[in-house]
Structures are given as structure tokens and as C-alpha cells.
Symmetry: C2
Amino acid sequence: MEIFERSLEESIETFKKLLNENRMTRFRTEYLALHNYEQSKIFANLEKEDREKIYQYLSPSELADVFDLLESQDETIDVYFDEMSHPYAATVLGEMYADNAVDVLNNLKDRDRVNIYMNLMPAENAREISSLINYLDETAGAIMTTEFISVQEESTLGAAYHRLREQAIKAETIYYVYVVDENNRLVGVISLRDLIINDEDKLIHDVMNTRVISVQVNDNQEEVAKMVQDYDLLALPVVGFDRELLGVITVDDVLDVMQDEADSDYSGLAAVDVRETHDTPLSAARSRLPWLVTLLFLGMGTATLISRYDALIAEASVLSAFVTLITGTAGNAGTQSLAVAVRKLTNKYDDDNFFSSIMFELITGAITGLIVGITVMLIVLVWKQNLVLGAVIGIAMMAAIIVANLAGSFIPKIMDRLGFDPAVASGPFISTLSDLTSVFIYFSIAQLFLSAII
Amino acid sequence: MEIFERSLEESIETFKKLLNENRMTRFRTEYLALHNYEQSKIFANLEKEDREKIYQYLSPSELADVFDLLESQDETIDVYFDEMSHPYAATVLGEMYADNAVDVLNNLKDRDRVNIYMNLMPAENAREISSLINYLDETAGAIMTTEFISVQEESTLGAAYHRLREQAIKAETIYYVYVVDENNRLVGVISLRDLIINDEDKLIHDVMNTRVISVQVNDNQEEVAKMVQDYDLLALPVVGFDRELLGVITVDDVLDVMQDEADSDYSGLAAVDVRETHDTPLSAARSRLPWLVTLLFLGMGTATLISRYDALIAEASVLSAFVTLITGTAGNAGTQSLAVAVRKLTNKYDDDNFFSSIMFELITGAITGLIVGITVMLIVLVWKQNLVLGAVIGIAMMAAIIVANLAGSFIPKIMDRLGFDPAVASGPFISTLSDLTSVFIYFSIAQLFLSAII
């Protein structure tokens, strides 16, 4: 895979040298020959003094292309804009794709600068940006762009093609032309492919596809990504409540959404935000501690419960050897059941029949519990030569697994019903919760058979 | 979000009725008006007798469009092809996009049918398919298509545009035209956008971008997806060892790869394959049991270790109340550290400095361990009025967390170094492993202070 002809490190050194020696022409030739993504990678690895040279050497429009490929959620983007003069920064923002510019503006810490930039940029760009800036995070509106191509249904294909040629440089996507009526309501779509294949004298109205796949402006970004994926689309139009065409979501933004959602689900399962990057162990520790301490208090419940069985343990100390085995195994089973349930819910292929899917998990838990229970019973029997102890541990194991399996599928489903993201229910949470029930089950059963164990 | 004008259930009923009443024309009109994705959703929900009617009502080419949108990994696709006559099935496969047809053929259980279909389909399609079928799973070769548009560098833009118009119906992607030399080596690329904007008398050679982003045919699909995402591409050319152009990967396939990789990482963390769909609890249990039983045997190690401290527990039964608290909390910390490490590795933004990142995790573990340790010490002090017991538990907790954090980051890194997928290291595995070390640490420390505890 050849991304860079030289390695990134070498490229950075070369460009630093050119900037240091004030060789503007050579810098421009070499830097502008790179792909925008490579430019952005290099830019992000320069020092402040290098970047300040770049603001002199590149036009706002050239830098805007670089910034379109920078991670716009990156906190350092705030720093970059602060290093530029206000008019230069405003022009860069105006030249960026509107959806990306909005991302940047929404992440500026100093909110006064939003107004400064908006006032300094060309009116048309400011209008586009302000039409996007108020949509809720993670909705279709927040990830759409307003730079798309639309035509009226009475035009000819030739006229549409002409319009597309005119707008091709600025529009973020040119592969679909959207057809609107006199009230700007979305009525059809023509792919560039259809435009190319068909005779240019034909009317849009006769060629367009009237069954346009579209999303509402406040649909969740996860649903949007799912639709683009299912329908194999390159872009998806976004409409308002009256079907008026408001914007377009392009597939590159959908790729970012999918990455974000995958990271978010992964984070949920592990009870840690893997998307956060931490410069110091202290900030990493700070982000992990809230979950750990919360779970510690939940775990104290289990400790309190065990200490209530002090007398039992004193009489049959052999019991204590198997506490972690039972809690650990039930926790593992609960984590499995949780992951399956969350994935079904977030991928929306849950059959939505609450009770039948809980019943499915109950039977799965009974089967796995039975097999694991018998296995552990046989091991204990051979090891401790005590059939009753083996049976107590085997039965407790089975019951604990069934309960953990149920909790693993039930809790995310309930969260989903209540309108919370089911992916927030984490493996550690389910394990810690199932520790409590497992201990209770184990010692209750053991108590019954105490006389036979010791 | 209006996907179906009627709900899916109603649509299925309507189409079933039309098929039942043999109303072929009406069926064709209504069914073919739907998007291919919707057609595929409906098809997948019909009974065998309905599908057999469809094989009569639709041409192989019409059905191929439906099948291009079916999940090709779906096991039932095997069943569908088995229901068709061999020549019909072969023609459907030939009309599908070559990469999708290969997916289907690779998933047929009856390997004889692969040859039967290949012999019955048009020679050109068979050639395309056989050029793809031998690439390793999860490589660029396995997800690329051979239906792309390429031109020689001496042609004019007009000639290229003409060629694109001719091939636009068949090619899977028309948004990039690839430029090759006389030996079919990839030398440049022109986007359809450039083709449209520029004068048609210009030579390809003068307009093309010579810095083509490409991948090698046996690059891993995960790297391919990362490149498409980073560079915001709609398609990515695949080259062989001599830079000869072999195929193209389109963004819709990248979306599927991302989904697959996200599901796979998620599965790894939970020690269960969330991608498998199970019809019965028995098959679900069968897929979960191997991990559970393996971890059970690992857990037996912990049980054995605890039973070696039988005498200690008999003397100070208060100790047993805190075993699950320490193992549980350390397991949670280990899972967090694991998730962070795996995500860094799979997203390739690991700084690759082995020791400094282990040191980072060590310090993070020390900080979280210290705070959790002090918290639990205070709780125990208040609850049990025993400073030494509190100190023993606090120190054991801190040490157990540090070890679990180290294991969580060390194990996936080692796996990655050895060439295994780090995402296979699961949360349950780390928890179970850390149970063992936590118990050892806890009882070793307790033993030292035994006289002060009781």
C-alpha cells in the first residue's frame, strides 16, 4: 500500500525544511501535488511556526481543501483557526464544505469567534452555514451538506447536464441530481449515470425516478447510515416536514458515522470511552474512574451479602474456593448474552417480539447452564470426592448462568424501550450485577445442603 | 423515514396474493417499481412456492439486480439457487456484479454446483468470476470487482467519455476512469467530475492525476476500508505486484467491510460471535459454550488457588467477603484497558512504541488503583472498624488493578506482534485471567498481616 512516496516522517522533515528556508514556490509545488488527505496528515504534524508560514503560502481555498480532510472533531482545529487572522480564517471556513465548516464552528471553545467568522465570510457561505448550524448533534441535519445540485422537473436532460457542469466544482456530490417542484419539494432523482446514458432532449420528468429514498432532517445518524448501507447509495437527500429538499448526506460522512457508532458500541461494552485520546495517564485515569467507582459500590453489595454468610463459610470453608468460579462464569455468560442483545437492537434486526426473544435467551441459558453445571459438578466430584458439594456447585452454576443470561438480554431491551441507547449497558456492569445474584444463589443452595457438605 | 410506501408486512402480503392468483403483469409492474433493496427484502420473506413463481416471472437479469442487494453471506442464498434450474441460476450469477457472484459461489455448500454454473454461464462472465474466485477471504482481491472502466493515456477526454457512456450500464462504478499503459499498468485516474468539467479535445495524459491511491491485491480488507475512509474515495483501484490494474473496490463494499469488522471487534470483546444468527437456542448455546467452558477451566485455576488458602480463610473468614470485590473490580479495569489497547491497534493509530505505551498503562493503572484502593480502604474501615483489614484490601485492590491494566494492554499488543488479530482477546478472558492474579495478590498480602486482621 503506497500512501506516501516517502514515509510520512521523511515528508514532514522535507516540508519543514522548505518552510524554514522560506522556499515558497518549491513548497507550493510539492505540497499541492499531494492528496488532500496527505496534506492534512502533514499539516497536523507541523509546529506552530511552520503552520504560520503555511497561512502565508497557501490561499484560503487551498487550505480549505486540506481542512476538509482533517478530523473536524479534533480539538486542535480550534488552535489552528486561532493562529490565523480573522479574515483569513473566515475565508477558509467559507471555502470548506458547509457541513465540515459547521463541525469546526460547533467545536470552537470561544463562542464569540463563531459570530466574528460568520460576519467576515461571504454572505452566501454564511447563509449556508447558518442554515446547518442549529441541527441537533447526531441527526441527519447535522451531517448533511447544502452544496448539492437540484433542477426543476420541466427542464431537459441537456439543461440539467449543463447546470451540473457549472456546479461540479463546488458541489460536494455530483452523482445525483435532485428534482424539485416549484415549492422546492423533492419529487424525483436522476443519477449522473442516467443523465449520461439518456438522450439530452428528453425531459427530466420522463426519466427521473420518482421513488426517491430520503430521510427526515431529524432522523438519527445511525438510521441514515443503515439506509445508505442497505440501499448502496452514494448520497441520500434530506427533507423537511413538508418534503422540501434541505440537504444531502454523502457516503464519506456515512463512513465516519459508522466508525463513530462502532467505536461508541465498543466503548459501551467495555465501560470506557475508546474514542477519547489522552495525553497523560492522569486524564486517562479520570475518564475510567467514574465507571470503576460506580461498579465498586455495586460490588460492595456482593461483599455485604457474602459477609452475611460468614457463619456458613466458617463451617464449610471449602465453599469459598468456588465463589469466584461461579460469579466469573455467570458474568461471562451474561456478557455474551448482552453483546448479542445489544447488537440485535442497534442493527435493528431485532424481531421486536419482546417475550419470545427473552424466552429464547432463557432456553439458551438453560442449555449452556446445564452443560457448564454438569462439567463443573464432575470436576468438583473428582477433585473433592464430595458428590453433594459437586451437585451444589453445579446447580448453583446453572441457576447463576440462567439469571445472568436473562439479565444480559433483558436490561438492554428495557433500556431501548425506555428510549436509552442499549449499547450503554456494559459488560462490566452486567458482570458486577450478576456477581450479586450468583452469590445469593450459591450460598442459598449451599445452606440447604450444609450438613451433607461438611 | 419512508422506505416502503406500505409497511413491509403489507407489501409482502400484497405480492404473495398477486403470485398466488398468477397475476404476472401486475406483479411485474409493482415489484419492478420498487428499489432493488426493497425487492430483496420482500424476496427474502416469501415462501418457497412464491419464489418458484418469481423465477418464472422475472428474467435472470431482473433477479440478478435483486440478488446484488441480498446479503450474499446469507446461508439461505444457497437454498434459492438450488430452487432454480441450473441454466437460470447460472444466468442470474452471470448477470450479477462479479464480486457478489463470487461471494455466492464461495458460500455454496455443494461445491459441484460451482463448476456446473461456471460452465453454463456466458464465457465472458465465467472469465471475470474465475479471475476473482481464488483470492483469499478478507483481502482486497476478494472484495474487488472487475467491472470498471479503463482507458489508455493517449486517448482524448471525448473518447474516454464515449467509452464511459457505452459501459455505464454494466460497470459497477463509473465515477472514476482509470488510465493504464500498454502493459495494463495503472498510471493515472480521472474522476467523472474532471471529465465533465474539462474540454473534450484534451488528452487524458494532460488531465489525469498520476498520483493514484491504490491497494495491492492481497492487502487486508480492513486497511482498504481505512484508506477509503481517510481519502474520502468512492472507489479504490486494486493492483498486482507489477502495478497491473486488476480490479476496483467500491464504497458500498467498504461499508459492508466496516460493518463486518465492527461486528467482529465487538464479538471479540464479548467472547461470542454476534454475527451468527441462530434459529434455535440449541445452536446459540453451541456457539457460546466453547468460550465458556475454556474460561471455566481457567477459572478452576483460581478455585484451586483459593482452596490452598483454606486455613487462612478458616482463621479469618472475613477475608472471603472481599474476594469477588477485588477480582470483579480488577476485571473491570482490565477490560477497560483491553478495549483501549485493541481499538488503538485495530485503528492503526497505535504510536507503536511498545514500552512507552505499556508504561502509560502502568501509570494509569497506578492512579486508578490508588484511588479505588483508598476508596475501598475507607469503606472497609468504616464498615468493619478494622484499619489493617482496610489497608490489606486497599493495597490488594491497587496491586490487582495495576496487574489487570498491564495484562489488558500487554496481551493484545503481544498478539498483534505475533500476527494474530488483537481483537480476539476478550473481556471475559482478561477478567478470568485477572481473577487468578488478584486472588494470589490478595491472599499473599492478607497472610502477611494475618495476626493483625483477626
